[in-house]
Structure formats: C-alpha cells, structure tokens
C-alpha cells in the first residue's frame, strides 16, 4: 500500500455522497414523474384494500400500547452496547497474543456485556416481552 498523505480525508465519502444523491434523486424523481405522466383517476374500487388485506378499522393515529416502548428501549440499550463493542472489537486483535493486558481487556468487556445480559434476563423474567 503506498503511503498517501492526508490531503483530503473525505474522498472516501464520495461514493456515499453519490449514493445519497442517487437515492434522493430516485425518490423525488419517481414522485415527480408519477404526477407528470401518471393518469389521475380515482374510484371506489381503486381505493379498496388490495386483495385479501384487512379492511382498516378506526383511525391510524391512535395511542400505542405501552409495551412497544419497552421494545424500543431495549433496542436502544443494545444499540448503545454495539457502539461500545465495536471499538473493543477493533482494539482487541491489535494486542500482542501473549499480552498481559489481553485478559483484562476481555474481562472489562465481559463485565460490560454481562450487565446488559442481566438487564435482558430481568426484563424477560418480568414478562416484559410477553404479549398476551
């Protein structure tokens, strides 16, 4: 690998930028195109639910059940967990194989993961994930 000076650290993001632009252009373009070239006919049959879909009852804007909140919350907890796990996973292999630090680094991470597992077990035991 030739050593390349950090003239511009953003060049890597060019593909992402282009991807973002393409995504935005695709979405907006489709909307625009539909309104321009699509025929605009409305009718009772056309507004029906597709094939064997359920007929909607009531408003879509009603109050959610509170147990969804727990699901979102546990998702967030694991999300944060991953954020911390990632740097660890990058760092850990960079230690020398016989390094004295290795068991410490492993133990520190295991404690971190353990607390989350405890939280998960607790929530399970409490029936937080039970839907009935």
């Amino acid at each position: 690998m030739p050593s390349i000076p950090a003239a511009d650290p953003f060049s890597h993001y060019a593909p992402i930028g282009v991807l973002l632009l393409m995504a935005a252009a695709f979405g907006l373009g489709n909307l625009l195109l539909t309104s321009i070239i699509g025929p605009s006919r409305h009718g009772k049959i056309k507004g029906m639910v597709y094939e064997s879909g359920m007929n909607p009852i009531g408003s879509a804007k009603r109050r959610f059940n509170v147990r969804f909140y727990i699901v979102a919350m546990s998702f967030l907890v694991f999300d944060v967990e991953i954020v911390f796990l990632y740097p660890w996973a990058i760092t850990f292999p960079s230690l020398a194989p016989d390094s004295e630090l290795a068991p410490w680094f492993l133990g520190r991470m295991l404690f971190f993961v353990l607390t989350t597992l405890i939280a998960y077990a607790y929530a399970w035991r409490k029936g937080v994930f039970r839907y009935d």
Binding site: P93, S94, L95, A96, E100, L101, I118, A121, Y122, R125
Partner: protein, 538 residues
Amino acid sequence: MNLASETRWEDLWGDLWMVMPEVWLVVAMCAVVLAPFIKRRSVALPLGVASAGLMLAVMAALSSFASADAMGTVFTGSLVIDPFSQFFKVLLTLFTLMILGLWILHSRSQTDPADAPDFLCLLLGAAVGMSLMVSATNLLVIFIATETASMPSYALAGFRKRRREGSEGSLKYVLFGSVSSAIMLYGMSLVYGAAGTLSIYGIAAQAAAGISPLMAIGLAAMLAGFAFKLSAVPMHFWCPDVFQGAPIEVTTFLSVASKGAAMCMLLRALAAFAAAAPANGYLFVGIGVAVGILGAVTATWGNLVALHQTNIKRLLAYSSISHAGYMLMAASVAVIAGRSWEGGQHQTGAIQVVVGAVLFYIVVYAFMNLGAFTAATLLAMHTGTEDIRGYAGLSRRSPWLAALMTACLLSLFGMPGLGGFWGKVFLMKSMALAGGAGFALIAVLLFNTLISLYYYLKPVYYMYFVPDEDERPAFLPAGGGLAMLVICVSVLLATGLLPNRIESLARGYATLYPNPVITAPPPLETTVSLLESAPAHD
C-alpha cells in the same frame, strides 16, 4: 495513555481493591435483579442481598482508612480515593441502609412483592452513582456518575405509579433533570474545548493561566448542572413537587444523599480550582463569588417560600433547598479564601477548614433530615395527614413522637445544644476566613436562620399549643420508626454536646487529594506510536 503502569498486574488489582465499595454496590445491584430467578415474589431475599451488599460496602470504605496505601488516584487518575471521599461513602452507605429500614417501615406493605427488586436495584444504582460522584476528578466520570445517580432517582420519585402527584413529580424531575444535564454537558464540552483536558486538575491549571470567555461560559453552564442536583434556586422547581409526590423514604434519600453527593462533587472541583489559583487570579475569586451569590439567593428564596407551606413534605423540601444554600455559601469560601484577597498568599489551610465544616454539616443535616422525615412518615401513617394543621394536639396523643420531631425541627433551625447549631457555627467560622465577603455571607446566614425559625416552629406550635378538636385517640408509633428517630436525635445530641471533637474528626476527614503536578499531555503522535507498537492483526 499510561501503558507503562498498566502492564503491571498488581496495579490493576490494586485499583480494583480501592474501589471495593462501588464494586460491592454493583455486585449487590446485579444480584438483586437476579433474585427473582431464585425465589419469585420474595422480598426477604433481595432485601437481604441489598443489605449485605451495603454492609460490605460500608466495611470496604472503612477498611480503606486502615492503610495509607489505600488512598490515591486510581484508574489512570479518573477517580480519587481520599479520606474525604471514603468518609462520604461510609455515610452514604449507612444512610442507604437506614433508607432500607424506612422502606420496610413505610412502604413494604404497600408494595407488590414482585416490585421489591426493582426498588432495591434502583436505590443501589443511585448509590453507585453518588459514591462515584464524590471520587470523580474527570468531567466524563462526573457526568456519567451524575446520570447514574439521577436516572434511578427519576424512577424512584414516581415509584408509586397509582399516585397522581408521584407521576407529576417524576415527570417534572425527568424534564428538569434532562434539560439541566444537557446544559451541564454543553458546558463540559465548552470547557473541554477551551482547556483541552477532561481532568478537573488540568482544567484548573489551564484556568490559572487565564480563563477564556468560552471557558467561563462552560463553567457557568456546569454550575447550572450542579445547581440542579443541589436544587439551588433557578433550578429548584422540581424539588417540592418531587418531595411531595415521592414515597417518603425516596424523598429522604433524595434530600440527603443526592444533595450531599452533589455538594461533595462541587467541593472537590472548587478545591481543585482554589489550590491552582494564581497569585492575582481575580477571575477565581469571581467563581467563588458566583457560587456564594447562588447560595445566598437559594437560602433566602427557599426560606421565604417555606413560610407559606402547610404540607410538611413541601415545607421540608423548601427547608432542604435553603440548607443547600447554606452549604453553597460556605463552599464558595473555599475559592474566595483559598487564595487570600490582598497578600497573594495561598491559604491552603482554608480549603480544609471549609471542607471540614461542610462535611460536618452534611453529617448533621443527614440525621436531622432523616429524623424529621421519619417523624413525618410516622405521623402520616397514624394520622393519615401530611398537613401540619393535622398535628394539633399531638403532644397529648403521642408525646414521644412530638418531642422527637420537635428536636429534629429545632436542630434544622439551629437550636443551641443540638447538632444543627454547631453545623451553622462551623459554617460561619469558615465563612469568616473570606474577610469582607465572608461577613456578608454570615449576615445572610443569620438573617435566614431567623426567617426559618417561623416555619420550623409552626408544626411545633400545632403539636403543643393547639388542642385537637376531634379528640382523636392516643397512639403508639411503630417501634422501628421510633428507634430510628431515637438514633437520629441521639446523633444530634452527641454532635450538639461534643462539637469540638466531632468537628476535629470531620476536619481530619476533610483531607482532599492534592492537585497533581500537571504535565502537558503527550502530543498525538506519541499516542499513535504507542498504539502502533502493538502488532496489528486486523
């Protein structure tokens, strides 16, 4: 990155040994959460585990006084273990044990057995946060420890889900708390940007070289975060509602442990600044004056609003606001007198006097508040009212309870012969070190004490001088509660009668870890080369 010291095994284990109180608390917390797996719907099991963990933590904190090796910085300087922090940890864990007692007395019968582990886990979690707050010397640790103390407190404040006031108080607490931690975090980011270091000692050293406007704003925003935890005046609105709505053991815990931890954290930061103050650092005096004004306003406002309260919990809430104000006023002296005004000479002794006085005050305050809240709990249990007008004729109905509660209230006022009096005297003695500004603070403190006499005597007046019109029967309060009250009052009497001995004890514990010599952080290149010295495998 201190890799050289990290590779030594003894150091790694030694660091862990020095934070044993926290380790025990965390272990107990995890065990409490797992208790339902062993025995479902058991209260005794998690309660036993929590008490055992707390007792082990007390012993671990006490044992660190045994040898001088057990003091110092740990975990590459992000925590400090010194007599000051260990003393507070002993107090905190003992106090939490008493909160458990109060919970058994008051709430256990009303709590579903399946909810007991939740309560205990949250309580222990808050205790972990508070004990780390006292040891924290690093902005990151300060923030996360504060959050670890706050988050369970939000849930604890609304622990009785069916009570409307509880939910209201909890919601106000969460909203206020999250806004103020956001402000504090924002301030920390500015301070970090201005100083380039997270260590409070490093920041103090940078500030000694000159406080830039950015750092000044950051410090002010951080002070706002501290003010929330202390319920100092612009950030105090949550306090009465939370105290009124929360179960009484939670109220007691929040009013003492939470405020005490925040106070100790603030003291450590102020002492670090005071010790680093340059010969003519007038900006440093500015920091002290800001804290002093905050304290004076808090004390006065809390006392003035307390005059109108008729609910005992709200009254004690405003009283606790004003007590936080007194302690803030004294803490400001650490910076003002930490460097003498004219001579340019450091008065390092002044810091210790101030810290000792505040520590003494925290101890006394813990017991008089615990006593007052326990008495209010017993009264609420037996008379079914938290309104002080319902206390009419109590001296006839339950003379012991009335007498003990009166003692606690008078100690909160500062009656000579009780611990509260000496607490205030030592605060004033330390304020006198600051010269002219100190005398202004003393005047404010005396004025506030006079105001507070009215509302502390109001319940006493109802208990002793207003006859009970409904002729309600006499009652004997629950034995456990009475025992706790007796403990509190005897501590107050002991501190009231042997003030000098206990004050010298407190001053001995007020030994803070000295500011380390600040060396410039290694430039980034060295860090990188250290990293690269390890063979890469990815």
